[in-house]
């Protein structure tokens, strides 16, 4: 071969030599045929050391890379590989990262005679990339961290402010009773600065009287480990720096520390205002109760007075009438001397009207006593037969004088639960009305019907009867169908009250011109 190298070849050689990249020629067997300065630099072997040696032993890493082998085969087949990243080894053992391009070398006949490889050292590039990534990661991490730190600090600050300005005082106490945390409200409540609080013990804030028990309570609480809320109804007091005491509500919660101990967080509320209001309410209530009691007493007193008044009035009104009647009777007996017909007539009038007046007084008194709830009934088991007999006997002479016939059912052995005096009063009242409103030749009957657990007594007459309108109002106080027959219209009202007080009911059936029937019920014994 002529040593004459053409100018072009020399130029090419110069380019190859001056390239920073490693330009390596290899035989098909992988033996190095050319090794440029770039290769010397990148891989550390000199041209003398490299040429003639198998490339694998030189720069390939310890473990065979399958990819490389596969690629090489492709090049051998005539392919061109460009920019393929690979790991190679420097002479001194360090790892070199390269970007490889491989192309086949052909002779003038086009026959593959070798492989030309260009390797660019990308170690530093990769390193740079990695360091960039790392540092950008770092930066990101740093920014993240910073952001988190800032957020944390912000949250912390807000949290702190929250605690500081909470409406209630907040203290945290360690297991020895020393205050390890306090807020502004606590300072205001107790009159200490935060320094003073943090230097002090929680027992100082407890009134002296309760100090002894307090330490024990704290220990018990810490042991129990369960939060204790406010409003348990305990009467607690706290002590200010100046010694004054104020009422408080305290809620406690335990906080486990990392060291395994227990701290206690206490939230303290000044309830002076609330207590004052409660006290006011209580005082108000008490005064209302007292007022109520006083009024009740007054009402009772007035009732009692009324009672006494009625009793004395009745006595005062009736006493003279008794004697009037008595003397009238005596006159009528003619024991002190005979009377002429006119005089007898006078005496009769006086007697009748006096009796009438007495009846009115009794009615008025009865009704007012019933209405003020002062009439007392004494219920007994009474023989109905006897009661009816008595009432009928009482009215008999009067009825005979008016030529009205009276008849009555025999109730047999029936007994009712009633007040004897009042039952007599009711029967007498009804009978006297019946006789009063029945013309001569008429008839009054007392009927008895059993109805389950009660008995219905009817006083029927063949008298003048009354209209529907009158029937509806007949039991009302002062109501009178006619005012001609005298009376005050109280009799039936009293009957109604008396019957109802004994658990019964009263009613009327009537037809004008035919007659009336008054019914009332009483419970059987």
């Amino acid at each position: 071969m002529s040593t004459e190298i053409s100018g072009a070849e020399r130029w090419l050689a110069a380019i190859v030599e001056s390239s920073d990249d490693a330009i390596i020629g290899e035989s098909l067997e992988g033996v190095v045929t050319s090794w440029n300065r770039g290769a010397e630099h990148i891989f550390g072997y000199s041209a003398q050391e490299a040429i003639g040696r198998p490339i694998q032993s030189l720069i390939w890493p310890a473990e065979e890379d399958q990819k490389d082998t596969a690629l090489l085969r492709r090049v051998v087949r005539g392919e061109r590989i460009e920019h393929f990243d690979a790991v190679r080894r420097h002479k001194n053992g360090t790892t070199v990262l390269v970007s490889l391009s491989m192309s086949p070398i052909r002779d003038s006949g086009g026959r593959l005679i070798g492989v030309a490889k260009i390797a660019r050292d990308i170690t530093s590039r990769v390193a740079l990339e990695q360091s960039l990534i790392a540092s950008s990661d770092q930066v990101r991490a740093l920014t993240d961290q910073e952001a988190r730190a800032r957020a944390a600090s912000l949250a912390n600050q807000r949290f702190r402010e929250l605690i500081e300005n909470a409406p209630d005082g907040i203290l945290q106490v360690d297991s020895t009773g020393r205050i390890i945390l306090s807020n502004r409200t606590a300072e205001t409540l107790f009159g200490y600065t935060s320094d003073e609080l943090l230097r002090g013990r929680v027992d100082d804030l407890v009134p002296e009287a309760h100090r002894r028990g307090h330490a024990e309570h704290r220990a018990n609480f810490a042991k129990a480990g369960v939060a204790r809320p406010m409003g348990l109804g305990l009467d607690l007091y706290a002590r200010r720096k100046d010694g004054s005491e104020f009422p408080v509500e305290i809620s406690l919660s335990p906080v486990k520390t990392e060291a395994g101990g227990v701290h206690v967080t206490a939230v303290i509320r000044d309830v002076t205002e609330r207590k004052r209001t409660e006290e006011q309410v209580r005082t108000l209530q008490e005064s209302y109760m007292a007022e109520l009691k006083a009024r009740q007493k007054e009402a009772e007193r007035l009732n009692h007075l009324k009672d006494e008044f009625l009793a004395s009035v009745s006595h005062e009104l009736r006493t003279p009438l008794h004697t009037i009647l008595g003397f009238t009777d005596l006159l009528g007996e003619e024991l002190e001397g005979p009377l002429n017909d006119t005089q007898r007539e006078f005496v009769r009038h006086i007697h009748r009207d006096s009796e009438h007046l007495l009846g009115l007084i009794n009615d008025v008194l009865d009704l007012s006593r019933i209405e003020t709830g002062q009439l007392r009934l004494h219920a007994e088991s009474l023989s109905l037969r006897e009661a009816i007999f008595e009432a009928v006997s009482g009215i008999k002479s009067h009825a005979e004088a008016r030529s009205v016939d009276i008849d009555s059912d025999d109730p047999g052995d029936l007994h009712v639960i009633a007040d004897p005096v009042r039952l007599r009063q009711i029967l007498y009242n009804l009978l006297s009305n019946a006789v009063k409103f029945t013309a001569a030749g008429g008839k009054v009957t007392v009927k008895v019907r059993r109805q389950g657990a009660a008995v219905r007594i009817t006083v029927a007459d063949t008298g003048i009867g009354m209209s529907r309108e009158d029937q509806a109002q007949i039991f009302e106080r002062f109501y009178q169908v006619t005012h001609k027959t005298g009376g005050a219209g109280l009799g039936l009202a009293i009957c109604k009250q008396l019957v109802e007080m004994q658990g019964g009911s009263i009613s009327v059936e009537s037809e004008l011109g035919i007659g009336s029937q008054f019914h009332f019920e009483l419970p059987l014994t």
Partner: protein
């Protein structure tokens, strides 16, 4: 009202002396009425205006019959009866109670207090005479 009923009085007891009746009522009018009826029946009448006076006069006159109004101020009929029954002299003496408006409870109380009988005012004179003749 009854007319011309014969007087059922006791003019004399077995050995001929007139019966002595002590009457007590705070109403003078009532006392007058009783006096008329009793004297007509041949009894001697001692009047008392109240319970205390009744007891004093009782000891003084030793009556054969007491007629007491239940409703008197200070010491009422019940009180007088109770006191009388404590005394040996009057343990057996008949005592009649007079009152307006006697209720069922009252009648029980009357018997318990030691009264021998009672009458409700207004009392027809005939009824009073009948009662007295039964008691004496």
């Amino acid at each position: 009202m009854v007319w011309g009923e014969s007087v059922d009085g006791l003019r004399q007891n077995t050995n001929g002396t007139r019966k002595r009746v002590l009457i007590a009522d705070d109403s003078q009018s009532s006392l007058d009425l009783l006096r008329f009826i009793l004297e007509r029946s041949g009894c001697d009448v001692i009047e008392a205006q109240d319970g205390k006076q009744a007891l004093i006069l009782a000891l003084q006159y030793n009556p054969d019959l007491f007629i007491l109004d239940l409703n008197m101020p200070q010491l009422d009929g019940y009180g007088v009866a109770a006191e009388l029954r404590k005394q040996a002299a009057f343990m057996q003496t008949p005592i009649l109670a007079l009152s307006a408006g006697i209720t069922a409870t009252d009648s029980a109380r009357i018997t318990q207090a030691g009264f021998s009988a009672f009458l409700s005012k207004p009392i027809p004179p005939a009824a009073l005479r009948k009662c007295i003749s039964e008691l004496l």
